[in-house]
Amino acid sequence: MITLTINGLDVQVEEGTTLLEAARHLGFPIPTLCHMDGLTPYGACRLCVVEIGEGPGAKMVSSCTFPVQEGLKVRTASERVLKARRMIIELMLSVCPQSKTIQDLASKFGVRQQRFRQEFKDCILCGLCVRMCEEQMMAKAIGFRGRGESRSIGTPFDIETDVCRRCGGCMFVCPVCELRCTYNEPEKAICGGCANLVPPCVEKDQFDDMMCYMEPCVACEITKD
């Protein structure tokens, strides 16, 4: 057993546990995006960042990939950590402003501005789908391609493969959820991400009395005022 201090509380956990698991065991909430139980930790989104050590030697590490150490002093919500998290969310929001998951995170952590150019990409490269495909579905149909700016996720040669069973696991775990977002057909939508887009009735006046799936409807509230 290893003893460490999280936010001033001593905790004993088994060797090999990650800081994230230890903090959640104590009930300290740490937001995550690329982490999912049952998949190997990846440390891509950096949202689970925590501060370890003390004084000027304090370091920021991603708690989902950092194993516990004897006598480690961890702070999960220091000013430095919160500032870093807000910046990470703001950056992710600029890549995928249409994602409900990221919007919810932004609202939860008080990100009220976007200083970066919005790119409306359909992927934040969190790697959840790649790990889901490999580890839970045992398929390995999709993976990372390229590097740097041109890094993307997809099948080899961008063609359908026999390896893919079309289980939909990749779409189910996707925090950006572009593939399932069915904008015009809200009843088919699963992620609810379309609720964050501009509703069709705002753009098209003739749909004034259309059946609205949003309760309460943001657009109607605006037009009433």
């Binding site: 390995k140 990372f144 391609r145 390229g146 590097r147 080899p156 040669f157 390896v163």
Partner: protein, 282 residues
């Protein structure tokens, strides 16, 4: 794409654990790109998911998934070359070749690529064509570089290159001279043998200049073909015990007058050759 070539490459690397990068490098060297079928064969043989191989192939810039041209022009756009007007050189190449950086001309002759840094910043702007470096390239030199590349750098410059010398070869079996004074290549009598591949059987003459790669033959030999060589006098096959270290084809031994052996690779297009002077009293 010839699947046998990929199979040969896979056999060559079967002893190493994974060796994916070496395999991909060999395939790239042979085809000048990574064909889709070849990657599928590698995936099957090595039991690696295709998506992983594709990830590696797209990660490294040295690998290409589209066929490259015969000549590869690499223009440096590193910081130093950039401030020394590297982008102008690239633009000039683009307009002269009619392609954008990263593309290949429709006749599959030239591929133009940019590179981040070649590590010789003081010589910038640098252009590398088929492994030959050009430094301090000016806009006006671009046309000359393209013409030189199209001509080929391999044509030996006999007057200036002191590493090139003529050899006199004879058959290792019957010791009869293989020199043919009636056919002059590079101003010297050529070496004449009988070459056989497939159903074709005819003469083949090689430049006797050690370092020149000029070859003429009665029948057009397709690239990558392994040719059987025979002595035109005793008709014995010229076949050595060793294989080419580059492509695995048998090496062809010939005796050099004055002692020693010369060995050339029997694969058309492979330029491997060596002069073995062991046991010679100079």
């Amino acid at each position: 794409m010839n699947p046998d070539i990929v199979r040969d490459i896979l056999d060559k690397h079967s002893q190493e654990g994974n060796g994916l990068i070496s395999i991909l490098e060999d395939i790239q060297a042979r085809f000048s790109y990574l064909p889709e079928e070849a990657l599928k064969m590698v995936a099957e043989a090595k039991n690696i998911p295709l998506v992983d191989i594709y990830g590696v192939a797209t990660f490294y810039k040295a690998f290409s998934l589209v066929p490259r041209g015969k000549h590869l022009i690499c223009a440096c756009l590193g910081t130093a070359c950039h401030v020394r007007e590297g982008p102008i050189i690239v633009k000039e190449f683009e307009s002269q070749l009619g392609i954008k950086a990263g593309e290949t001309t429709p006749d599959k002759e030239f591929t133009l690529e940019t590179v981040a840094c070649l590590g010789a910043c003081a010589l910038g702007p640098i252009v590398v064509v088929d492994g030959h470096y050009f430094s301090n390239v000016g806009q006006t030199e671009v046309r000359g570089i393209i013409e030189k590349a199209a001509e080929g750098f391999e044509t030996a410059d006999l007057e200036q290159d002191y590493h090139i010398f003529p050899v006199e070869a004879s058959c290792p079996k019957c010791n009869h001279s293989l020199m043919d004074p009636s056919r002059i290549i590079d101003d010297y009598p050529s070496i004449r043998v009988t070459a056989s591949f497939g159903r074709n059987h005819g003469w083949l003459t090689i430049s006797s200049m050690y370092g020149s790669y000029k070859v003429f033959s009665e029948y057009e030999i397709p690239k990558e073909t392994v040719v059987h060589f025979f002595c035109p006098h005793c008709h014995a096959e010229l076949k050595g015990a060793t294989n080419c270290v580059l492509c695995g084809a048998p090496m062809i031994p010939m005796i050099v007058s004055g002692g020693g052996m010369i060995q050339i690779c029997s694969r058309k297009g492979c330029k491997n050759h060596m002069l073995d002077l062991s046991g010679v009293n100079l």
